[in-house]
């Protein structure tokens, strides 16, 4: 990748030539009703924008009662009359809200999930129970053509023999031992989608984005390093970071709901020309804020995770098992990634190059005063 981060002068994403997907290859038409849950979120608002850009005129945005609509409003404002966007405030824990939202819907993009929660029950409730409610509600109406679950790389155990991680790699078999409520909830969420979709004959597709970043996102992914103990510990080293810029990710999510013949498939979403962890950190320090960091070699980070895990077990959880070998494999093992399936089956190409995406991200970090 080019690390020069040159400004193209437009202030907006530099687009690459993308292979336009033909309307004939879509399972729905522009007037079909589409539901986007989590529509006010970081990715959801871009998904709505992408759908509207593609000419879909019957988009229902489900947002939490407390959601800040600023992002979504940015995506839907200044559209011509007849754009057809409806914003519903509701709670996916309410079956009535799920029924109201999913009525007459042809495609559901399910992005709403419990994020940032340390509690396993909270994460589970806001990811799994909500997903169950939505699937059962939508099954009542026989018009759903596809359910798109936006999952995460967090589900992968990354313990395959090869260093290559693709969609065929196993997911975490014991997410309850991962120390991550998010991992647990996402694995269980995928399981319930598979289970209920089979039971109710709902066609579904799973999208697993890597580390989604872009303007509006905060902080540095733990795949690069952590600052939980004061100084920033750089753990990624020369690992490639499976970044996907938010607009590129949204494009992949949208295509996963539209393209014919991909029912039951899983798609990893990550950009081309991924920076290494070291490259990213260097650029971040140069363009956003300089701070001291200490590199922790992989052998040492593995040993520390192992010791932490053993002590957590030995002490009956006096230290919570936040660091363990499962997490090390999932986040810090040297891994190669591929987006070949995404390109081949969905015709996806990144709208924004990694170079341009990083420039936009760092610029927004500076503007918002966000730091690691």
């Amino acid at each position: 990748m080019n690390t020069g981060l040159t400004d193209n002068g437009s202030g907006s994403p530099g687009t690459q030539a993308s292979r336009p997907a033909s309307l004939d290859s879509f399972i729905i038409g522009p007037e079909d009703r589409i539901l986007v849950t989590g529509a006010a979120g970081f990715i959801g608002s871009r998904v709505v924008e992408s759908l509207l850009d593609r000419g879909f005129r019957n988009v229902v945005c489900l947002v939490r009662p407390s959601s800040d609509l600023a992002r979504l409003e940015t995506s839907i404002d200044n559209r011509p009359p007849g754009t057809g966007v409806e914003v519903l405030r509701g709670n996916l824990l309410s079956r009535a809200d799920c029924e109201a939202a999913s009525k007459g819907v042809a495609v559901i993009y399910h992005l709403a999930a419990g994020t940032g929660e340390k509690s396993f029950p909270d994460a589970f409730m806001n990811s799994v129970v909500t997903t169950r409610n939505l699937l059962e509600a939508s099954a009542q109406y026989a018009c759903l053509k596809r359910f798109v679950l936006v999952s995460s790389f967090a589900v992968y155990s990354n313990r395959q023999k090869s260093r290559q991680l693709d969609e065929t790699c196993p997911i975490e078999a014991h997410p309850e031992h991962s120390g991550s409520a998010y991992c647990f909830a996402k694995v269980k969420q995928e399981q319930i989608v598979a289970e209920l979709s089979k039971k109710s004959s709902i066609p579904y597709v799973v999208v697993r984005p890597g580390s989604v970043y872009g303007p509006g996102h905060t902080g540095i992914t733990a795949r690069v390093g952590i600052s939980a103990f004061g100084p920033f510990l750089h753990l990624g080293g020369s690992n490639k970071v499976p970044f996907t810029y938010v607009d590129n990710c949204a494009e992949a999510v949208v295509l996963a709901g539209l393209i014919r013949g991909i029912e039951g498939e899983i798609f990893n979403v990550l950009d081309d020309d991924l920076p290494s962890s070291r490259q990213f950190l260097k650029l971040y320090k140069k363009h956003v804020r300089d701070f001291s960091s200490a590199y922790v070699p992989h052998v040492l980070s593995y040993a520390l995770c192992y010791l932490w895990e053993k002590y957590a077990q030995y002490s009956d959880g006096q230290l919570p098992p936040a660091f363990n070998r499962r997490r090390w494999y999932a986040e810090w093992r040297r891994t190669n990634y591929t987006n070949a399936k995404l390109k081949q089956r969905l015709g996806w190409v990144p709208k924004v190059s990694s170079n341009e995406a990083l420039r936009l991200y760092f610029k927004s970090c500076v503007q918002r005063g966000q730091h690691a």
């Binding site: 407390s66 929660e117 509690s119 396993f120 029950p121 909270d122 589970f124 030995y314 002490s315 959880g317």
Partner: protein, 386 residues
Amino acid sequence: MLKVGIVGCGKIADAHATQILRIGGCEIVGVCDREPLMARQLFERFPVKAYFSDVADLVTEARPDVIHITTPPESHFDIARFCLDHGCHVYVEKPFTIDTNRAQQLINLAEEKGLKLTAGHNLQFTHAARRLRALVAQGYLGGRPVHMESYYGYDLGNAAYVRALLGDKNHWVRRLPGKLLHNIISHGIARIAEFLTGNDIRVTVQGSTSQLLEGIGENEIVDELRVIISDSNGTTAYFTFSSQIRPLLHEFRIYGPKNGLVLDQDHEVVLRLRGSKFKSYADYFIPPVLFARQYLGELLRNAKLFMTQDFHMDAGMKALIESFYRSIRENAPVPISYREILLTSRIMGSIFDQLRQDILDEPSATRSKANSAFQGESVVIETVCR
């Protein structure tokens, strides 16, 4: 082997299951949640024998000796009464019930059935809290407590619970008589209730919504509370609940006629406050050295607890559960007296009654006046609870 059941499989149930499993001589025979998925996720993550979506099935099929109720507070009374009716001892998470009448009914029923009850005032059983209690029992204060101060800080910033609360106008916390306060302040009030000896309790309340909450359009939640409590034996207490003070204190101070004690819950430290003074300039130099010595002692004590794997985040809950189970096995007194449970409930009820009159039922148009009055003009309402 004591057979244990848990009703309600949300966040706090995780803490209960974890601590129960650290105690010898007991097993979790079943967990229950009316949402089967929630019951199943707890069942899958802990060594639990079965899961249920109906408490009746838990009671009849798993036949637990003791049941922990970790559901939202509105349901505590009905579930606890059902469990007591079916011969189970009951640990009820805080707040015990939504009002004192229901608390009294449960206690009467437990006594009638020869069963044990306790409330989830687990912060009363942390290592530091137990040390303070032991010092008071040894007479360190030099007599009956004269005055107490209890601080309970609450961070509105990052808690997922508060985000859920603020976002959902139908959240169960909003349906409680005391709303947010109702679900939290029992820890701080119980500290005071434990040491009140008189029967007539006078409660004076001032409450307001912080500018932080007002700024995001939240006018129903009182997150700044100041309470003065006194009993008929002349003991007084201040209770402070705040989302805005920094540091967010969790502290209890108790003063007797001779000496005082400070419980710093955030740092698991208990300090002795000497009532007597040193002569002249010595009072400027010797006490800091004595305080330093006390802090060093507390540091070493905490380090020892950590090294011996007895310094878990929920150590207080483990100690309370252990003590409660011991009272069941040995038919010994319960760890938290029923008087303390009722007194905590009465004081909280009095606080919420006053807030309802003074603030909670006040139209939002006049709320700002009440808030500004909080600076020094507000009318103080007193109630006496007997």
